[in-house]
Amino acid sequence: MKTKAAGISKTTKNDLITYGMVILTYIIVQILVSTGHVSSLIQGLLVPFCTYAIVAVALNLTVGILGELSLGHAGFMCVGAFTSAVFSLAFKQTMPSGPRFFLALLIGAASAALVGFLVGIPVLRLKGDYLAIVTLAFGEIIKNIINALYLGVDSDGIHFTMKDALSLNMKEDGLVLIKGAQGVTGTPNDSSFTVGIVLLLVTLFIVLNFIHSRTGRAVMAIRDNRIAAESIGINVTKYKLIAFTLSASLAGVAGVLYAHNLSTLNALPKNFGYNMSILILVFVVLGGIGNIRGSIIAAVLLTLLPEILRGLSDYRMLIYSVVLIAMMIFNWSPNAIFFRKRLRQRLTAGRKSEKEEA
């Protein structure tokens, strides 16, 4: 082990473990699926796993690396989801699915990045928890705007209104893309587990390389001590904006994946509201702030948990929250950390003595 590790640095090794974990999971799942050992429930959950893992990794970039709290990542997901869904629906008949989905991805990521950038410009200049407050409001605003927005396209071009579908004044050949609260219906199902895993790997590649890059180190310096970072000439606002925009655009990618997995897309409090933003934050906190691999595992676990507890009917919500609390204590309580340390020491000591005996 030691001779191998000498060639590559510890961080690289750590990153490789993360990639390896994702790829290994993919291979195992694919084998199980092809041999028919995976239930429909798990098969249906594979894309949501990827979606939530991506958005958790994206939020971890903001919370763990940038050290700012964002409560609006569901809002960025929402932007990515709706822009890409509108694009895909508009070109459903005229483009093959491969390039269309690729373009939808780019559009979703770019629009979420743009919105993130705009939100970030004023807020990231400030110290304190302002980002949390503004992103929280942003998420709610986006949801409400989309619920009131009607968008259509016909031979005259694009029509939009905030009133109702009749006010679009569309021609006969027109296609209503966003129908206010009814959302987008008929999005092509382009998401698949393979696409999800590829996107997760790309996200990991971007985020992990970003962290280890010069920019990433500058961002972490700001997180650890803003004054010290400023004193050595780091442009605080610029680096914060870079990290936050990247985080928002990756959340947009997750939104694209979400939108193309279901044929209906509504901006409900359930999927793009405040609760969803908190849930994503819970993924990050439980997985470990700044721990990218942990975010992925926590996102998968916490998405899976309510589904496998279905047998308990209404009690599953209770169990779910108890599990959350238990995980939180296990991960973060000083006593639990001390206990784990002692347990590990005892284990390693036992192993050593075994070796000596051998």
């Binding site: 974990m21 239930s39 429930l41 249906g44 044929s263 359930k270 691999r293 942990g294 009917s313």
Partner: protein, 418 residues
């Protein structure tokens, strides 16, 4: 090292969970009838223990004809739980009645109702759970968006789907999907025609929930149809799910425009607030609503006398005096301690419609899902069902039901036919 330990443990837990998922799949493939009946008993916790035991016994007794598995999907938790729970309870009553009367073609009916939390993604998850359980037809989803998302999957898998109350147009876009309730456009058009033909008013105001699919869907078609009718819409006030407590602005707008009738294509909770606020601002006007208003007399802390004279177009009224409705309402009251709303009635009719279609098509337990789907889709267009929500309901291949809307008016604290 510490982090590694944690991640290892979590990864282990994840794998264990995945394996658990696989395990349950394997079990369900060759599951014995016994385990299934216990599962069914688990899911129908709302029913009390003795009833659960009854169904279990019934399951054992008529195992010869096999079992017919109906999977239900709807919101059982969260803000929309009242609709899902009502549909579930209504369906359960129908299932128990059918089983007591000998089942469908000798098959015992089993209902497994899964929660979707009003979320399309969860609804698809619920559908997948039901598929693993071995559902042969789907009763759901209760809400429109979820129903659309699920119909995409049932169409892929060719499983017959009958939604009790998914009213958006796209819910039945595929051949395998049918619905019990009116579609939103139908309700809007029917309401506009009713108001126009009966000369109820010449100036109409509308207050609707623009963030709700049901409400905005009805409003859209109502406004379209209004152009062909001898009345004009003088004010249209919208509200959203986030600000649905104060309606004074919308009411004032309607009052200033001189509206003689206010059309409320919304649910009864908000409507009760509107009626109260209209009364306190001295705005005395005729109110007219759709099936969402059914239940308004049961709202807590609502002075039911304010609802006096409100007209609504609904397929189901709990106070109707025909035997079917009376029996259903009594049974529902006994078991669940409340008066059923239209969702419960839709749920009840869904099960009986499935029964009628299954008997017409001669469904047996050993048929594959594709065969059942094709046979039922064909049979749906040939049957006529006398249910709680209409007499002689028929369907065409598009999946839309054809039944007459009933207009009722609230008189002396009860619904009276008009």
């Amino acid at each position: 090292m510490k982090k590694k330990m944690v991640s290892l443990m979590l990864a282990g837990a994840m794998m264990a969970a995945l394996l658990a998922g696989c395990g349950s799949d394997g079990a369900s493939n060759d599951a014995a009838a016994e385990t299934e009946t216990t599962e069914a008993a688990d899911t129908t916790e709302a029913a009390d223990a003795t009833e659960a035991a009854d169904t279990a016994e019934a399951g054992d007794a008529t195992a010869a004809g096999g079992t017919f598995k109906i999977g239900g999907i709807g919101p059982l938790t969260g803000g929309a739980a009242v609709y899902g729970v009502a549909a579930k309870n209504g369906s359960q009553i129908a299932v128990d009645e059918i089983n007591a009367a000998g089942g469908i073609n000798g098959m015992t009916v089993e209902l497994n109702f899964q929660d979707d939390e009003l979320d399309a993604e969860k609804s698809v998850n619920a559908y997948n759970v039901l598929k693993d359980w071995g559902a042969q037809v789907i009763d759901g989803s209760v809400t429109s968006a979820c129903s659309i998302a699920v119909s995409e999957k049932t169409y892929q898998d060719q499983i017959f789907q009958l939604t009790p109350s998914g009213s958006a147009v796209d819910c039945v876009q595929y051949d395998n999907a049918f619905r019990i309730c009116f579609s939103d456009p139908n309700q809007g058009i029917a309401s506009a025609q009713y108001i126009g033909e009966n000369g109820l008013a010449s100036k109409v105001a509308v207050i609707y929930d623009s963030s709700d699919v049901y409400s905005s869907g009805i409003y859209e078609k109502f406004a379209q149809e209004a152009e062909n009718q001898p009345f004009e819409i003088v004010a249209a006030g919208a509200f959203t799910a986030d600000n649905k407590t104060d309606f004074s602005v919308q009411l004032q707008q309607a009052k200033d425009a001189g509206a003689e009738l206010v059309f409320l294509p919304i649910y009864y909770t908000e409507a009760s607030l509107i009626l109260t606020q209209a009364d306190s601002m001295g705005f005395d006007v005729q109110f007219f609503g759709c099936d969402g208003l059914d239940g308004i007399l049961g709202v807590e802390n609502f002075d039911a006398s304010l609802a006096e004279g409100v007209m609504l177009l609904t397929p189901f009224a709990a106070d109707a005096t025909d035997d079917l409705t009376v029996n259903f309402v009594t049974e529902y009251n006994n078991r669940f301690g409340e008066t059923p709303n239209q969702f419960a009635a839709d749920g009840y009719d869904t099960i009986y419609t499935i029964k009628a279609a299954a008997e017409k098509a001669g469904i047996t337990a050993d048929m594959s899902n594709e065969e059942i789907c094709a046979a039922l889709s064909q049979a749906m267009t040939e049957i006529s069902v006398d249910g709680l929500t209409g007499d002689g309901i028929t369907w065409d291949a598009s999946g839309e039901p054809s039944k007459a809307p009933k207009a009722v008016v609230i008189k002396d604290g009860a619904y009276a036919a008009m």
